[in-house]
Symmetry: C2
Subunit: 145 residues, 2 copies
DNA sequence: AAAATAAAAGATAAAAAACTCTTTTATTAA
DNA sequence: TTAATAAAAGAGTTTTTTATCTTTTATTTT
């Protein structure tokens, strides 16, 4: 198991892919995205539906339709994608799954975890989706399996 | 979803509980552990079987039997528990689930993630199970839901 | 207006994770 | 040496996650 659910991994990769491929005003279809990020097509369709509902990506139906991102969506922090799919358990919940865990009644790992949770949150909230475009354009980073 | 699987959360909590309750040479039964950490009893039994197989906790059958930890097991780093249950995906895999991701062919989040993964690994490898006993003894930390 | 296209929505299937129950084995105590 | 105890092992079930397929709706082009 990684940090994110598989669904969330696909979500992040697809958002990066869409951002990268629609900078110029184009649109991309589910098929293209799925193949571009090596994800199961129909499953990805469901994920994009959800992201679209939440306004994290934009879409239009019909010929020449597809998914895209505009200036507003490109500016969104990565944490919005993660929260949309996996919720906020990663940076708000107790590492040992205790609902009673708090500052005043901490679990044994509470303080150790706090550092990590904050680090994760910082990383996800301080970077926008757009931030990753340049490296993708330059071919420095990749999204395929 | 948290950082660890639910199974792993139970595993960590149970190990802390056993360490805390058997410092003095006593043993604890599955029943006691399950109730002490608010976990499903039969499910916990399976988890403890696995931890026992791997030598992370010790056990004996029969009357006055149960689980316990000795000096050697108490000295083990927490990472051994996590690795036994969740594997090492948390600190070795790619955050976006890409098998191809590497230093030379990184995913977009690769470098951001590296910091986090290292932080998590450091936390889990630098603390021994025993380290958490004192705070449990003092009633500062808790393991119950 | 009809045909074509592409996402949205709905329904189902497969796999994995979480959880439960029963039987067996080892150990102890009466 | 029998009965009792407690973990180990085996065999399920349930729930959640992941994945697939089909039908509907919106949009565009002919």
């Amino acid at each position: 198991m990684g940090i994110f659910s598989k669904t969330c991994e696909y979500a992040i990769r697809s958002v990066f892919f869409i951002a990268h491929r629609t900078e110029n005003g184009n649109k991309v279809s589910i098929k293209e995205i799925a193949s571009g990020i090596s994800s199961p097509e129909y499953f990805l369709a469901k994920i994009l539906q959800e992201l679209s509902k939440r306004g994290i990506v934009k879409s239009t139906k019909g010929p020449n339709g597809g998914f895209f991102m505009d200036d507003e969506t490109l500016q969104r922090p990565l944490v919005d994608v993660v929260e949309a799919i996996d919720g906020n358990g990663l940076f708000s919940g107790c590492g040992l799954g205790l609902v009673s865990c708090s500052e005043s009644k901490p679990c044994p790992l509470h303080h150790e975890f706090k550092v990590i949770r904050e680090e994760i949150y910082k990383m996800l909230s301080q970077t926008t989706i757009k931030d990753f475009n340049e490296d993708l354009n330059l071919g420095i980073t990749n999204l395929k399996k």
